[in-house]
């Protein structure tokens, strides 16, 4: 089996979008293009509004990913857990499809004997360990997120510690929103080293609006561009290192 690449968008936000396209629709579009969207709702204390929770869960569900609402103190562990879970879920989806192909339609994990499940689990684990991962991190930096950004940064550094322990390669890029005159702003170009992120959230253009939908759309565009670039050089472009844009 050739090593493929998993593509994820990780969205970190603390509330509701209030302008532009419907983020759930954008998430559905991303899923169609093979990009999984995981969402983390970050709260300082108390609870997130019902509407906020619905949006967080809705985006992840439409994007084929995982969501979690969490207090800032637990952000690090959650970010890596959600990313992991999202990867497993995507791989499992692919493996399930393969199973259907082999064993007939509507064969899911649950229809297999527990003994056989173990073998499938092994395959999923193995793929999760060895597949390459492209992860675009999209951080909501609207005014209410400001106090949470140091923790966000720490959590992202921690994420790279987790992912870089894998056998497969990782490429990270970081975008924030809202931005001046556009939906999102690139904070870090594709790199295997997320640690280089230090300090990028310091200079912020925060505003009152939270354009989650348009931000997702732009993130999707950024992904498309990358995929195109990767495809061009050779038929099996997966093993190529970054052409360094």
């Amino acid at each position: 089996m050739s090593r493929g690449t998993l593509r994820q968008i990780l969205l970190l936000t603390d509330g509701c979008s209030n302008t532009g396209e419907d983020p759930i629709a954008m998430a559905a579009l991303a899923k169609e293009e093979g990009i999984t969207i995981n969402v983390i709702g970050v709260i300082e204390q108390g609870q997130m509004s019902e509407q906020g929770i619905q949006e967080v869960e809705g985006i992840a569900m439409a994007g084929g990913g995982v969501s979690q609402i969490v207090y800032t103190q637990q952000l690090s562990q959650t970010v890596q857990m959600v990313t992991r879970k999202g990867m497993t879920q995507t791989i499992q989806g692919v493996v399930s499809k393969e199973l259907e192909g082999i064993l007939g339609k509507e064969t899911s994990m649950e229809d297999l004997e527990p003994e056989k499940r173990g073998q499938v689990t092994e395959v999923v684990d193995e793929l999760g360990e060895t597949m390459d991962l492209d992860i675009l991190i999209l951080v909501d930096t609207s005014a209410s997120m400001k106090s949470k950004l140091p923790m966000v940064q720490e959590a992202l550094t921690d994420l790279s510690v987790s992912l870089n322990a894998r056998t497969g390669d990782n490429q990270f890029s970081v975008y924030s929103f809202p931005a001046k005159r556009k939906s999102i702003e690139r904070r870090l170009n594709w790199t295997p080293k997320l640690e280089t992120l230090t300090g990028v959230f310091d200079k912020l253009s925060s505003g009152g609006v939270t354009p989650t939908g348009p931000a997702l759309q732009e993130a999707l565009n950024a992904f498309r561009k990358r995929m195109k670039k990767k495809e061009q050089p050779i038929d099996e472009g997966i093993y190529l290192e970054e052409p360094g844009m």
């Binding site: 929770i53 869960e57 637990q74 690090s76 562990q77 921690d158 056998t167």
Partner: protein, 327 residues
């Protein structure tokens, strides 16, 4: 974990409920809930052959991954690493079908309360036991991963540390599957999350620190993490005794469990601890021995001689005890 707002539907079983497996048709009667973790809830249940622990989860992937580990461990010769595996199946309830597995029920005391109740040498002894087991695990190519007091239990007497939850066990060379920040070297910035023996040994050192700081502590943003941990060790008389072993493990200086075990053993048996051991043991020493001593003519040197005698006797008992442990 409890603060997480989970979407996963959990399967609630109640005392007295009869669980019959969909595939193997074995039946279990639920007695009570024992605990819950990230992947499911553990119940005490009665099977045909007596008490068992039954874990029911929501995701069949997670459950079958744990079953894989338990089955691997049961292949290891000698005393069981972790609870022995009994059965894996599905339960059908009105809410849906849930995966579960059944394992040996380990009865015992949680680690931290045990240490609080017993003499301080039990810290070193249980850790030596743990390191022996870890060595066997590492030899078959696995790393425990999420090593922490909650996943361990002290059974007996005779007291023996056992593994209760092996859900985080990861193949050597892969990325650690599950971890808890306090015990994770990645969190402290003192190493990677690659599954290798030194990852587990770091956690052992942190368990030792946790034994003296039961409520744990967070990484201070102001100071270097290693300095902070070092301070915690030096400020505690019991940890200070094991300082070189703990620090070695924190710095990843031990490449295998046996090396750390060796270092620890020498410190458990150090003169410092023997003296301490002797003092308490003396009050509990058999009366017969005491009387005999009293009959002896009172010479000036006799007190020193006696001390030496009792000391060497205890040392002998100690060595014999060790021998027993190693067999």
């Amino acid at each position: 974990m409890k603060e997480f707002i989970s979407k996963n539907q959990v399967c609630k079983l109640h005392p007295g409920q009869q669980v019959i497996g969909k595939w193997h048709r074995k039946s279990y009667k639920i007695v009570k809930q024992l605990g819950y973790g990230a992947t499911g809830t553990v119940y005490l249940a009665h099977g045909v052959d007596g008490a068992v622990a039954l874990k029911v989860g929501a995701e069949s992937m997670a459950i079958s991954s744990e079953v894989n580990v338990l089955q691997q461990l049961s292949k290891v010769q000698g005393q069981h690493l972790g609870p022995s595996f009994i059965d894996v199946d599905d339960i059908i309830t009105s809410e849906g079908t849930y995966p579960f597995y059944v394992m040996e029920y380990l009865e015992g005391e949680p680690l931290i309360p045990f240490w609080q109740k017993h003499r301080p040498e039990w810290l070193g002894i249980l850790m030596v036991q743990l390191l022996s087991d870890l060595d066997r695990l590492h030899r078959i190519g696995w790393i425990f991963g999420d090593l922490k007091p909650e996943n361990l239990i002290v059974t007996g007497p005779p007291y023996r540390i056992r593994w209760m939850d092996v859900g985080g066990t990861t193949m050597k060379g892969r990325a650690i599957k599950e971890y808890t920040e306090f015990f994770d070297r990645g969190y402290w910035g003192l190493g990677s999350r690659k599954a290798e023996p030194s990852y587990d040994l770091y956690s052992v050192a942190m368990i030792m620190i946790n034994s003296r700081y039961p409520s744990r502590f967070d990484k201070k943003p102001s100071s270097a993490p290693y300095k902070q941990l070092q301070k915690a060790i030096v400020n505690d008389t019991i940890l200070k005794k094991y300082q070189s072993t703990i620090e070695g493990a924190l710095q990843g200086k031990f490449s295998e469990a046996m090396a750390m075990r060796k270092s620890l053993v020498s410190q458990v048996g150090s003169s410092d601890s023997r003296r301490e051991y002797k003092v308490t043991r003396r009050t509990q020493a058999p009366t017969k021995q005491r009387k005999k001593k009293k009959k002896q003519p009172a010479k000036k040197s006799s007190a020193i001689f006696e001390t030496f005698l009792v000391g060497s006797f205890l040392l002998l008992v100690y060595i014999l005890y060790w021998f027993g442990q190693m067999m």
